[in-house]
């Protein structure tokens, strides 16, 4: 059964596009057929993050307006078999698409793909309404900042009002050290306000900037801890329970490395 998930946040710049790209890659790595859809018409970015910019011929608006077939607009990722991108139009704006048009498009995509991920634009206007229209559920992305949390809270209300099921949460740019010092909102602080299930706690790491500039999402990188968290998010999205958060893993110290080397504890231990 295929599913359409909208990735949204309210506030801009918290990492919706990065999350969409990485989650798409991670789900495709699990063998799923995934279409990532850039709904940020007029401000398209998802193609850049995925490194597929120079292959765009047709876009989402062309498909909705019937100027081309869906297959013609979908861009296949060379690195992964099941991953396709439907890019946004850069020369139009949000009003070029209606919720009805999006609903039809998503229905068409769901026939061919296991997962349809929609990268929602910031804000609560037309672009948001379009993005939510065809979705079966929502993932809310936020950062541990009061302004992002406030907007996420508003968006959760709007998602519920749109009669989608309870959304899930990904907290981006999380810094465990700052939380330990009391300088950043903790996971508990955030969940106290938003009160929805947490499915991702993505550490703040320079990998993300490097990978975005290269057009190769961090989820491809076996060694990146950010990529590891996105791969774990994909497992949680697929329904696997009790997948620990990378950000809360006990960091390697000389002592734990020594212990592991001596075979005292097998895998890296996990703190909850």
């Amino acid at each position: 059964m295929s599913e359409c998930i909208v990735i949204t946040s309210g506030k801009g710049g918290v990492g919706k596009t990065t999350t969409t790209a990485n989650l798409g890659v991670a789900l495709a790595m699990q063998g799923k057929r995934v279409a990532v859809v850039d709904a940020d018409i007029g401000l398209r970015n998802l193609d850049l993050i995925l490194g597929l910019e120079n292959r765009i011929v047709y876009d989402l608006v062309h498909v909705i307006e019937g100027e081309c077939k869906l297959r013609q607009a979908l861009i296949k990722d060379k690195r992964l078999d099941g991953l396709y991108l439907l890019p946004a139009a850069q020369t139009r704006d949000k009003n070029a698409v209606s919720p009805d048009g999006m609903r039809k498009l998503v229905a068409q995509l769901k026939e061919e793909f296991d997962y349809v991920l929609i990268d929602c634009p910031a804000g609560i206007e037309q672009g948001f309404k379009n993005s939510v229209a065809g979705a079966d559920r929502a993932i809310i992305v936020t950062t541990p900042e009061v302004s992002a949390i406030r907007d996420a809270d508003r968006i959760i209300g709007l998602v519920e009002a749109a009669e989608l099921p309870e959304p899930t949460l990904i907290v981006n740019r999380f810094r465990a050290k700052m939380v330990a010092r009391g300088d950043m909102m903790s996971r508990e602080d955030i969940l106290e306000i938003l009160a929805i299930p947490l499915i991702g706690l993505v550490p703040d790491h320079e990998d993300i900037i490097v990978s975005a500039n290269r057009g190769a999402p961090a989820a491809f990188d076996e060694k990146s801890i950010v990529g590891e968290e996105y791969r774990r998010i994909a497992r949680r999205v697929l329904g696997e329970a009790d997948v620990p958060f990378v950000a809360l893993d006990v960091p390697d110290t000389a002592w734990t490395i020594l212990k592991r080397w001596m075979g005292l504890s097998g895998a890296r231990e996990v703190a909850q």
Binding site: N95, R150, R154, G157, L158, E160, A161, E192, I193, A195
Partner: protein
Amino acid sequence: MVPNAPPSGPTRLGLKHTSSGLVLSLPPGQTFEAIRTVLRDHLALSPERYRGQTLKLDLGEGQISLFDLRRVLHVLRDEFGAEVVGVHCTVEALQRYAEKELKLKVHVSAPAEDTSAAVTPDTVTLAPTTSATEATTEVNTEVNTEVNAGILSHEELPGGDDMGDRVMTIHGTVRSGAVVEYHGDVTVFGDVNPGAQIVAGGNIVVLGALKGFAHAGSRRSDSFILAFDLRPTQLRIGKAIHLTMESAPERGRALNPQMASVQAGSIIIEPYRGRPPGMAMREVS
């Protein structure tokens, strides 16, 4: 004085995005021409904003005449493509409209005992033709009852025809941007988050954390606000306003129910001792 000059007063349109839809309140005491100008100004920037949308009109005290109301509906439909699916107005206004149509004095009967029909207009003696906006009119008897569709529910409790006796209950979190307005008491089984607004004619009770804006006693200044965890952005009771102190107390896990009430004209917050104000004396006797 020039005839037809718009009376002084607020010329702003109130536009509320509630999750149950858009509610447009008309500026009170304006002529149709003035309202149309305000509407056009308001929508000049994005004329397509309301196309295909459904909205409700808040008539407030019902100062607009039925004739003008019909014209406003036409403007909204023909010029802006918005469909008006309901109106909010007071019982008094509804009564006035009915009287104008019937040319007879209208008496509002007490609500029937049947709780499921507590707010249906059946008990208001009205001919069908009196409804202000043809067949699509949905009359919510009193002031606004904005309910965040999906998470908030609204119940009328039986007993008493005094509006203040009625309680609206909300199950779940009231989130940023949500507006809850009710003429009676409001009880929330959950949190009220920062950025959310609760305005009640009577008391507000939050069985959770109150972190948003709460205005109790918009009709009765002897109202109170009670919360298990009282950390509001702002409290108002009647006309009194309470700005929260600079440093809100740290989040504590222990329950610390607090109650805000008006004493000598200003809002006092104190630990809740098990009784709302005014109850203590009666209980003792």
